[in-house]
């Protein structure tokens, strides 16, 4: 039963001390306004650790351990429901092989070292040659962690050599938003899923990858509502089983399909003339190619689409003219609300930026934009790809709050806010992820100038494409040094020179930003195992050590430490880990970061507001009565505070500075590699429901591991029969880059059409990324993991 006195005491304390404890970590932690104590179990809120959906869970803690998890009924995202990963998220803390002590490579062995020694080694690598010290981060970094890394890299070491794993997962979505609206991230939100009449999935399998969002939409059918689901894909999945229409396309032909639908809308005159006249400009690729392209007029746009007749598109894409007309019929109707969803299918694409802009263009051209249920919405795979990577800007070219290093005004603003001497911030962008690892794997004397990479919260040894080229060569080069902060041994730590044990999830304070612009906060609830420590602390301790050693970059223009924090006029010495939680360092970092968010109207509320809620969607704008109000429908006058009165819809960061969005003309180009006589299959890689990314956490959860214990290759039955292969047989999948033996699973989780294969990437014992291609999008630099050519050999 609830200890009622404890509950009342907590509630009273929460109310009384919340304001006072603004910077007090320990006291803020114990006074979470959501804390409940039932039968000796303390329950508090936290966002789930896994995907970008951003469900909230209730975390039950007893005797210093997490003992249970429940769906959070107060959470608007998931309304009390979770998926199988979310229900088992607590078990991710308790794999028996957690990393608990810093380890330094010593010949073939690793020896335990102290944290002091580890920090010294890292600072020595920085001081050796600051230019070549890179940080490889993550969409799993919390917002304060990413902000600390960002400031250390751009404002301290000042070489801009920081890029995240999110480059591999949503960079094309970013460039798609930028070239269309002039500002990143979706206009709509998950509320659209509650009201749309039609949902179009572009190479997306939310039934497995974003299950809670998928069921939020599909459960409407159980209530008697009608939702038409259209699945445009290259393989039948669990999502397909729910679809009203499955449109099977030849890989890489999505551009032709989007163009074909726009062609029909123009030809039939069923596009939204009023919306286009008031809110849209037209755009096409420039020579040389630049992200923002060049202006074209409506007639040029129309002529450019002439070739995309249903017959042509059908021939290219394999989709019937009937189905193309079905799409055109739906988009041509004003009485239907249409939401598009996509994730890796469109983003991991050598024309990722182009297809992203075309789907936005289709929604703009047809006026399916800006009202509830009408939205082109990209989903993210990581819990804070939006919050940490896209908003804090932990990318090689970016500064916090949507700024870029190449813009002198932006550099000046950031230098001012960070109190840095003028000119501290480097105007040359660092290397994007693929280039960073390529440089790391290239001998210094051949121009590989990255000598050290510090990896946090990600597993590039498993998730980079074409690891034979990008990852392993560096491990044979004497002067290259790999530092990895992680929670478990991974393919990356196995090849690291220095391994640092990290605290994870509710072992630390944190904040995430999900796919619908929602910023979320949680408090530390349990201690990390052994000597594991917060990633933010690791970064700050290195910064402090640099300061102590007299490194100029660790000082602001007044000579103070760049991460100087004070409470009541007194500097706090949080770099001593024993004192790290004397105060809430997260809150300090967040409040500093928050000042950057106004420029692009991504206003964040004070930390305390996020403590109170299950997240708020930016822009969060303060009202006359002092309260903070979130925005669900961005650019729409009825909801977005920043839209000019009378505009209806206003793209107030338009690249053409006229409040209009850009509808792009983009032509389809051949993929870098396609099936041929030698390698006759398409090879697609991806995830499965049970496992999240490289399986570091989920493969240590017995229930998930039992249900999906290893990687496999899916093939069509007809192909298997032709090759004389049977279910369960071990086969060798080969590409021009590598080979991998896998069991064949016919009629498995998905069903690829003839001539294509699918292999999931979660299994660290069967590394499919030794086979994938590192070719990438020209704008976003995001590689294409979804298609390359392969062959299958009997072993």
């Amino acid at each position: 039963m609830l200890d009622r006195r404890a509950f009342l005491r907590n509630s009273a304390m929460a109310a009384a001390t919340l304001a006072a404890s603004r910077l007090a970590g320990e006291s803020a932690r114990s006074t979470s306004p959501h804390l409940r104590v039932i039968d000796g179990v303390k329950w508090d809120k936290a966002p789930c650790r896994f995907c970008g959906t951003g469900c909230h869970v209730q975390v039950g803690v007893k005797d210093g351990k997490v003992v249970a998890v429940a769906g959070d009924q107060q959470a608007e995202v998931n309304k009390g429901l979770l998926c199988v990963k979310g229900y088992h998220v607590a078990l991710a803390l308790y794999g028996k092989d957690r990393l608990t002590t810093p380890l330094l490579k010593d010949g073939d062995q690793y020896k335990k070292i102290s944290w002091e020694r580890a920090i010294e080694i890292i600072t020595a690598r920085v001081l050796k040659a600051p230019k070549g010290f890179a940080i490889y981060g993550s969409g799993q970094w919390t917002i304060p962690e990413g902000y600390a890394a960002q400031k250390l890299s751009k404002g301290g070491i000042a070489n801009n050599q920081i890029d995240p794993n999110a480059r591999l997962c949503m960079a094309s979505a970013v460039t798609g938003f930028l070239c269309t609206y002039g500002v990143d991230e979706p206009a709509g939100c998950y509320d659209d899923l509650d009201t749309c009449d039609v949902c179009v999935l572009w190479g997306n399998n939310p039934a497995e990858m974003h299950p809670v969002l998928f069921s939020r939409m599909m459960d409407r059918r159980s209530r008697g509502e009608r939702v038409t689901l259209i699945d445009i894909g290259t393989r039948r999945t669990r999502t397909t089983q729910f679809a009203d229409h499955y449109l099977e396309m030849t890989p890489h032909t999505d551009l032709a399909i989007a163009n074909g639908v726009m062609h029909l809308l123009l030809k039939r005159g069923t596009y939204d003339k009023d919306f286009v006249e008031r809110h849209c400009n037209f755009r096409a690729d420039s020579e040389p190619q630049e992200l923002l392209g060049k202006a074209i007029d409506f007639e040029a746009f129309r002529r450019g689409l002439d070739k995309y007749t249903p017959e042509y598109v059908s021939k290219v894409s394999g989709i019937s003219t009937t189905n193309l007309e079905l799409l055109a019929d739906l988009f041509g109707r004003r009485d239907l609300k249409i939401t598009s969803l996509w994730c890796m299918g469109m983003n991991q694409h050598t024309q990722g930026t182009a297809i992203n802009s075309l789907v936005h263009g289709l929604h703009l051209l047809s006026g399916h934009f800006g009202t509830p249920g009408n939205a082109p919405t990209s989903l993210t795979g990581q819990p804070s790809a939006c919050g940490t990577v896209r908003e804090v800007g932990t990318l090689a070219h970016a500064l916090p709050g949507g700024r870029v290093v190449t813009n002198p005004e932006h550099r000046q603003q950031v230098e001012e806010l960070w109190n840095l001497p003028t000119g501290r911030i480097n105007s040359t962008p660092g290397y994007h992820a693929v280039k960073m690892w390529e440089s790391f794997s290239t001998p210094s004397e051949q121009g590989g100038d990255i000598h050290t990479i510090w990896v946090q919260a990600t597993n590039p040894g498993q998730t980079l494409p074409n690891t034979h080229k990008l990852f392993y060569p560096s491990r044979k080069l004497q002067d290259k040094f790999l530092i990895v902060s992680d929670v478990y041994p991974t393919e990356t730590t196995r090849h690291a020179d220095l391994i640092l044990p990290s605290a994870m999830w509710v072992e630390k304070n944190g904040m995430f930003g999900n796919s619908e612009r929602r910023t979320q906060q949680w408090f530390k609830m349990v201690e990390p195992p052994g000597e594991a420590r917060d990633d933010a602390w690791q970064l700050l301790a290195v910064a402090r050590k640099l300061y102590d050693l007299g490194f100029e970059g660790a000082r602001d223009k007044d000579g103070r430490f760049i991460f100087h924090m004070e409470v009541a006029g007194k500097e706090i010495q949080y770099w001593d880990f024993k004192r790290y939680y004397d105060h809430n360092v997260d809150e300090y970092l967040f409040e500093e970061y928050r000042k950057f968010t106004r420029l692009k109207h991504k206003d964040l509320a004070p930390y305390a507001e996020y403590v109170k809620t299950r997240g708020l969607r930016w822009p969060v704008v303060q009202q006359k009565d002092g309260s903070w109000r979130e925005t669900r429908f961005r650019f729409s006058e009825f909801d977005d505070n920043y839209v000019r009165k009378g505009q209806g819809v206003d793209f107030y960061h338009s690249t053409t500075k006229d409040g209009r969005a850009q509808v792009w003309l983009r032509h389809d180009q051949p993929p870098p590699e396609a099936p041929d006589e030698q390698y006759p299959f398409w090879l697609c890689t991806g995830r499965v429901l049970e496992h999240w990314h490289s399986g570091t956490m989920t493969m240590r959860i017995p229930q998930l591991r039992s249900a999906m214990p290893q990687a496999y290759v899916e093939m069509n039955r007809v192909d298997a029969r032709r090759l004389g292969l049977v279910n369960g047989q071990k086969v060798r999948v080969e590409t021009r880059r590598g080979a991998l033996d896998l069991p064949l699973w016919l009629n498995g989780r998905g069903d690829p059409p003839q001539g294509s294969l699918f292999v999931p990437f979660f299994d660290e014992t069967l590394l499919i990324n030794k086979l994938t291609l590192d070719a990438h999008d020209p704008f976003s630099k995001q590689p294409d993991y979804k298609k390359c050519s392969a062959r299958v050999v009997v072993v």
């Binding site: 959070d72 088992h88 308790y94 028996k96 159980s222 229930q703 999906m708 699973w745 069903d751």
Partner: protein, 261 residues
Amino acid sequence: MTESLPPPVPVQTARLAKIGLVCVAAATVGFFSVLRDRESAQGFSEGTEATGPEVSRALSYAGLRDRSDPDSIALHQLAFDRFLSALPASMAPVSRSPEDRDAALQQRASRRAFNGAPPVIPHVVDQQAEPNCLVCHQTGMVIDGKTAPAVSHPPFASCLQCHVVASAPSGLTASEFAGNSFSSVGFAHQGGRAWSGAPPVVPHSSWMRNECGSCHGVSGRLGIRTTHPSRQSCVQCHALSADLDQRELAAGAQVVGRGAP
């Protein structure tokens, strides 16, 4: 409709269509139990005009999976009628011991990571099929001595989102791993009573457990089965816990900053 299409599915279309969506395991059991029936005297009598959901021709295994074939549908209908009739009557007396309770709770615990975690699926499922779980799990039934419990929560659309199979699909094998030291708090035991004759309060969260009969009804495990299954309104006498159901939160924490409309 052209002549080449199969004849339309008769009368009970809605129910039969649902019955047609059968999971492989149940289909196989069903097929054999009906086969046995047809060989017995009562099953099929020569010269009689087949009426109702009678089977008029043998089906191949492939035919069994054909969801539009009326014979396939009828075959499954027969099987399911048998399973449903195997459920104990709601007026049948229930006698149970503390050992039965322990056994039931132990079995329950064996299928969950912790109290509140979705149970794993103890049988094979079609990894690709649209969720047809409700064919068996909507009302609950007894198949070959094994109970398929009715779902305890409202029927959400995507069952496999939360429930995964307990053991890997054939052909996939798990390698060794270091293991996991997570340990949960104990499972709910008997709810407290105000005095010896008072109805016990509900000792677990009722969130997503609106169908008490799922565990406590006539097809529930004996140890936790109600002694009075004929009474349908459980929460009339057994009080729910606001604490366990997160209802304190609703009163205490407001959703702030909610935008229009």
